[in-house]
Amino acid sequence: MSPATILLLVVLAYPIFYTLRISFAELNLGTFEADTWVGWDNYLAVVENDRFWNSLKVTGTYLILALPLQMVLGFGIAFLINANWKGRGVVRALFIIPMVVAPVVAGGVWRMLLDPLWGLVNYLLGFFGLEPLDWLGNPSLAMMTLVIIDTWRWTPFVTLIATAALLSLPRDVFEAAQIDGANWWRIFWSITLPLLLPIIAATFIVRWLGAVKMFDIALAATNGGPGQATNVINLFIYEEAFRSLKFAESAAMAMIILVLTMVLTGIFLVGSRKLEERQ
């Protein structure tokens, strides 16, 4: 018990408290000690910073686009590959590849694929008579690019969970529905979906917690650009801290994001528990 507690305190609690402390202080870059207590000054500076709000907006946009897409695709694909067919196992194995590729490598590979001049994607688009697109240079397309890469990376994870969930559903309930007169769509809508709802909610929370931390793919693929178009909050905090050396303000931002994430996660958890209780 106590060794585990100590370990947790050291690796989890200490960094958080350190961040909390410097978010209310001026950081001495010589000693990395919090020198002067400055109250809410760092927080005020963050709130007045347009680029912080922009980053929040970028993160929000990314979450709103990527999460539903990954959930729908993940469960949809699981639903399709759940049927018994030859080679299902191979397809499942292939699906795991995006997850095990290092995110920075994935970002780099996609960067090459999407290169406006000699990228494979534009080359393929050319076959359909489409103009080459500036995937990484156009601000709205860059966000789409980020969403596409992240979806490529994480949909298999959702599919994996969804497949396990589908396989664990009781078979006789579906047979009963079949005998009761439900067609394919009705079984999906009235039986499968309600039975899966708690697992969909839980998967959403897991994905949400992962997506909020979005950093590596943005760093490797777009580095926040063009301009600020894909500068997600974690990338922004990182740049402010380690490029601009504004550690105190970054700490304040980190605390704000921590609280925000905890509140939203709390709301999602309550929601998913409600869903579970309905059954």
Partner: protein
């Protein structure tokens, strides 16, 4: 008219045949039990009637219409599953009304039917509950309610009592029988429990390894089992068997251990043939003369007593009414009326008929 005709139905999974030509005709209103050991094909046959399993060869007709290629929902059947298969996210009321809702029946009419079924099954106070808030027996009744509201041509039951405890099983069994007497709907009932089959069914279909061993009313199967399998399967405690070769005049058996055993007075075996003698435990009487057997164990149940004894190296079970002073280690003499002696051909397993004038 809820007739079900099963004509020479076969089932294979790939090249592996699991059912080898089963034919059963079930007239309207009859309660038929499919019974047999696990893996005998009884559940598969039921699922083929329901449409949940493809028919490899042969035909199944409901109400005279061949349903081989008819979807389960269009067969006008209702099924009660072993694990009840209730919709976990729906209340009891919604569970029972689901099929009617799918048919597009008006709400008021659905409610009326649900109420009637709930009353029959004593479920009125549970209508708002979710399945997880019900006991096993209640879930079982909801599953039956879901079948009743549909007023189907045929009821299909797949071992519906096997998840209930022993006491509840006996109670629900009798409720099921009352229900059938009241509704008169054709019923096909799968069970591995021969007592359930005996007590419930108008006719029993005994199955083994994908084949029908015998079809008939419960007491016919009990009194005149067509073969060794049925003889061993029907009846509890099970029938005693003694293998041997009939002597020249058919009044005794040469046993494998070299000794001879006279048949009960009046019984006669075809001379020289390898036969298996079968006697039910309750038909063996403790008498003054007869086969000498050593008592091993006495099992009293109050109303009757089971004696496990040994005749040479052959184990025998004897069931007597009431109680007894016999003790383990005693030697008793056993006799049986000739009319209760069953004879089977040891090689084919088939019953050998009409050897006894008194039969």
């Amino acid at each position: 008219m809820g007739t079900v005709e099963i004509r020479n139905v076969r089932k294979s999974y790939g090249s592996h045949a699991v059912m080898h030509g089963v034919s059963v005709t079930i007239p309207d209103g009859e309660f038929v039990a499919l019974v047999g050991p696990s893996g005998c094909g009884k559940s598969t046959l039921l699922r083929m009637i329901a449409g949940l399993e493809d028919i490899t060869d042969g035909e199944i007709a409901i109400e005279g219409r061949v349903v081989n290629d008819v979807a389960p929902k269009d067969r006008d059947i209702a099924m009660v599953f072993q694990n009840y298969a209730l919709y976990p996210h729906m209340s009891v009321r919604e569970n029972m009304g689901f099929a009617l809702k799918l048919r597009g029946m008006p709400k008021a009419q659905i409610e009326e039917r649900v109420q009637v079924a709930a009353q029959i099954l004593n479920l009125q106070s549970l209508l708002e509950r979710k399945p997880r808030a019900l006991s096993g027996g209640q879930r079982q009744r909801v599953a039956m309610g879901r079948a009743i509201v549909r007023d189907p041509t045929v009821f299909l039951f797949d071992e519906p009592l096997s998840n209930l405890d022993a006491k509840l099983r006996v109670q629900v069994r009798s409720e099921l029988k009352q229900l059938h007497q009241r509704l008169g709907t054709t019923t096909v009932y799968v069970t591995h429990d021969q007592i359930e089959a005996m007590t419930l069914a108008d006719r029993i279909v005994v199955m083994n390894s994908g084949q029908v061993e015998q079809i008939g009313p419960p007491l016919d199967l009990y009194d005149r089992p067509a073969n060794l399998f049925v003889a061993a399967f029907i009846g509890s405690p099970p029938m005693n068997f003694i293998e041997g070769q009939a002597n020249a005049d058919g009044t005794g058996l040469h046993l494998a251990n070299g000794t001879s055993l006279p048949l009960p007075t009046g019984a006669k075996a075809p001379s020289g043939r390898a036969v298996t003698l079968g006697i039910r435990p309750e038909h063996l009487d403790v008498a003054q003369t007869g086969w000498p057997a050593t008592v091993l164990v006495i099992e009293p149940t109050g109303s009757e007593t089971q004696i496990n004894a040994q005749l040479g190296d052959i184990p025998l079970r004897i069931l007597i009414r009431g109680r007894t002073d016999i003790r383990p280690g005693d030697t008793i003499h056993l006799d049986a009326p000739a009319k209760h002696v069953h004879l089977f051909d040891t090689h084919t397993g088939r019953r050998i008929e009409s050897q006894f004038p008194g039969d």
